[in-house]
């Protein structure tokens, strides 16, 4: 179908990337980052460090400063500009997470929030009149693990298991400056083991064709989960002003690769993989949500198992097919009913015919009977008539004889007298 053609001269579509660049800058970018973890793990500080701004300040306090009785989900939107590029950054935080004595279901508000953003997007996408759809879906979730040094807590495992198929999870070891490099190494190994054991799918860096890039990616993979340190204060170290935490024994520098993995996190999250995080959210997590939602709507109540293979249709196409099936079913039903009807009619007609024939027969019988009787009667009458005639003739004869006899007697009598 497609053929490879070689260009024999300048065409100009090599400029397409520039066109795309231009348009994307004009449009601006948006990104939603969620931070989850118990209070006091340095989440707000890390956000401020990542984005080099006072997102959380006295005026807009971070989650830890807002003591909540139950887990809330709160959004802050900020607009930041850099190098001609504008970014609308939404930070979603979850004050109260893991802080209660009984933390069962503390992940539910988080799940609900993510789902509601998916739902908003789905509704916007499905409208008849669609306008520009703002993308408020959660693109990345930074999960803060307390630096206990031992392993994941049950809450950590539970949370990640429930959310790994809804959002890109990047687990982080918070307050990494409380562990020595060896402890950190052990801790990381332990965590990765547990993550694999529980089949938790954290965000994976995509493979590229670029060898160089792949090498970098491999290096990062070896250092997962990233152990980070954040700071709001600038300290002078060796003549340089750096973000760091001042201890009596030295300064833990945030941006020093030997002190913690902060730089790796920032590079990965912001400078190289921000777009990929958005793409994975759109192409994988959102599509999963959507197909589950639409399947539920389409097969409302119907047996889901037998319909699993038909998910390649749209709900409307599904209805079309059901309609066709129904038409076929109705045709069959109609045919059957027609057959039954015909059969019954035939039966009845036959009965009627039989009954008619029977009545006819009886009538013929009776007629014959009657005719026979008629004949009989005729015969009898004839006989009678004949007999009667004979007898009458006889009687007349006798009468005549008598008359003759009496006349003779009379004659004789007269004769005698003389």
């Amino acid at each position: 179908m497609e053929q490879q053609k070689n260009l024999e001269g300048y065409v100009g579509f090599a400029n397409l990337p520039n066109q795309v660049y231009r348009k994307s800058v004009k449009r601006g970018f948006e990104f939603t980052l969620m931070v989850v973890g118990e209070s006091g793990l340095g989440k707000s500080t890390l956000i401020n460090s990542l984005f080099l701004t006072d997102l959380y300040s006295a005026e807009y306090p971070g989650p830890s400063h807002r003591i909540k009785k139950t887990v809330q989900v709160e959004q802050s939107k900020v607009l930041v500009k850099e190098g001609g590029v504008q970014l609308l950054l939404t930070i979603v935080d979850t004050p109260g997470f893991g802080d209660a004595v009984d933390n069962s279901n503390c992940w539910q508000p988080v799940i609900d929030h993510i789902d509601s953003k998916f739902e908003d997007y789905l509704n916007a996408e499905s409208r008849v009149n669609r306008r520009q759809m703002p993308d408020n879906r959660v693109h990345c979730c930074l999960y803060f693990i307390a630096p206990s040094g031992h392993g994941l807590k049950p809450l950590d495992i539970e949370f990640m298991k429930r959310l790994h198929e809804k959002v890109n999870i990047i687990p982080l070891i918070a307050k990494a400056d409380t562990m020595t490099p060896e402890e950190c190494q052990q801790f990381k190994k332990q965590i990765m083991r547990e993550i694999q054991e529980h089949k938790i799918k954290t965000y994976e860096f995509p493979e590229t064709d670029d060898e160089e890039e792949n090498k970098i990616v491999k290096k990062i993979k070896d250092r997962l989960p990233l152990a980070v340190v954040g700071s709001n204060t600038i300290i002078e170290v060796n003549g340089k002003r750096v973000r760091g935490r001042q201890y009596p024994w030295g300064v833990a520098e945030v941006e020093n690769g030997e002190h913690c993995d902060f730089t790796i996190l920032r590079n990965m999250l912001i400078r190289t993989h921000m777009q990929d995080l958005k793409d994975v959210t759109n192409n994988v997590h959102y599509e999963n949500y959507r197909s589950r939602k639409l399947a539920a709507v389409t097969y409302n109540g119907a047996d889901n198992n037998k319909n699993k293979g038909q998910l390649t249709k749209s709900p409307l196409a599904q209805m079309e097919e059901e309609r066709r099936d129904h038409v076929a079913k109705m045709k069959k039903m109609e045919m059957e009913m027609e057959q039954v009807f015909e059969m019954k009619v035939k039966e009845k007609l036959q009965k009627l015919k039989d009954s008619e024939a029977e009545l006819q027969r009886r009538h013929e019988q009776m007629k014959k009977n009657l005719e026979a009787q008629h004949k009989e009667l005729e015969e009898k009458r004839r006989q009678f008539e004949e007999e009667k005639n004979n007898w009458e003739v006889q009687q007349r004869l006798v009468e005549q004889q008598k008359l003759d006899a009496s006349r003779t007697l009379e004659k004789n009598k007269k004769k005698k007298i003389f």
Partner: protein, 431 residues
Amino acid sequence: MAATEIARQAGEGARAVPLSGHVGFDSMPDQLVNKSVNHGFCFNILCVGETGLGKSTLMDTLFNTKFEGDPTQHNQPGVQLKSNTYELQESNVRLKLTIVNSVGFGDQINKEDSYKPIVEFIDTQFEAYLQEELKIKRTLHSYHDTRVHACLYFISPTGHSLKSLDLVTMKKLDSKVNIIPIIAKSDAISKSELAKFKIKITSELVSNGVQIYQFPTDDETVAEINSTMNGHLPFAVVGSTEEVKIGNKMVKARQYPWGTVQVENENHCDFVKLREMLIRVNMEDLREQTHTRHYELYRRCKLEEMGFKDTDPDSKPFSLQETYEAKRNEFMGELQKKEEEMRQMFVQRVKEKEAELKEAEKELHEKFDRLKKLHQDEKKKLEDKKKSLDDELNIFKQKKTAAELLQSQAQQAGGSTTLKRDKERKNSGFL
């Protein structure tokens, strides 16, 4: 810096915060670009124009390559669309180019329906995309987009005005695709005629309300060049794949006895302008317009046709679930109604037939009742006759018996008379 769309959308909800250092998200456009380059680009061009206007040659010239196809004859029975897809690469950019050619356009005697296959083709591509978009399990990001991004409409170089076929066709297409009208084989028109021709064409398009594609002027980077070019529309082009030596270079040109028309000479024709605008500057915008304007319009019409609405009668917005559920309930209701109707029809038929048969049965019984009655009458008559015969018989018997009795009496009396006579003789003898 002008407000971005995103910033506008965010509105009051977002506060601007200053950054105290280099964060690094200014690489976002690059990240996006890298992804699209890796993914590859795709572009679909539709060429509409009468046979022989040089559509294939122009495509070859524009894309500097020899595409498929032999020149078509004029004896096509109807308008057909032939499409071919090619993989091109320029530096590190891969482009999947689809060229669709209208074959036989303008060749028929009756051209009333000529535009139809073209409109159908465009709609079919929209439909395919819509179907993919509506699927439950979909793969939009790896879907090969076949929607037509640009339609080059080739105008015959008559030098006078647009043909009515052109106006009719462009009017039918302008809400479905980005139309870029070009004057084909413009080396047949002189410079002064060309200026007049362009003005005539533009005014005819305007007076007939035909919306042609305007190069966008909202982005400062390209606003100036785009607006200048908008003034040069329609582009008068010449295509050629043959090369002629001019000076010490080989250039694409057409050689005439009176001179050589150089394709890439902007004094000779607008080919370079077309290439700039179509490919180098606005290819991405053409794709965007197709997706956000033309496709959305198609989609909106299609969904409304199917009965989807965004708000219920009280103007409250529907959620997707509600919409689908409502549709589904409606659908189920319809099916049930159909079933019920069919059943009712059968019940009716059965009733009717039963009544018919009952009627027939009744008639039959009546007939036989009548016959029976006749028979009864006959029987009675017969009985009467029998009775009268019996009566006669009886009378006769009585008569006979009486007569016989008389006779026997007479005989007896006769005997006794004879006896008497004898006795009297005897007696008289004594006398």
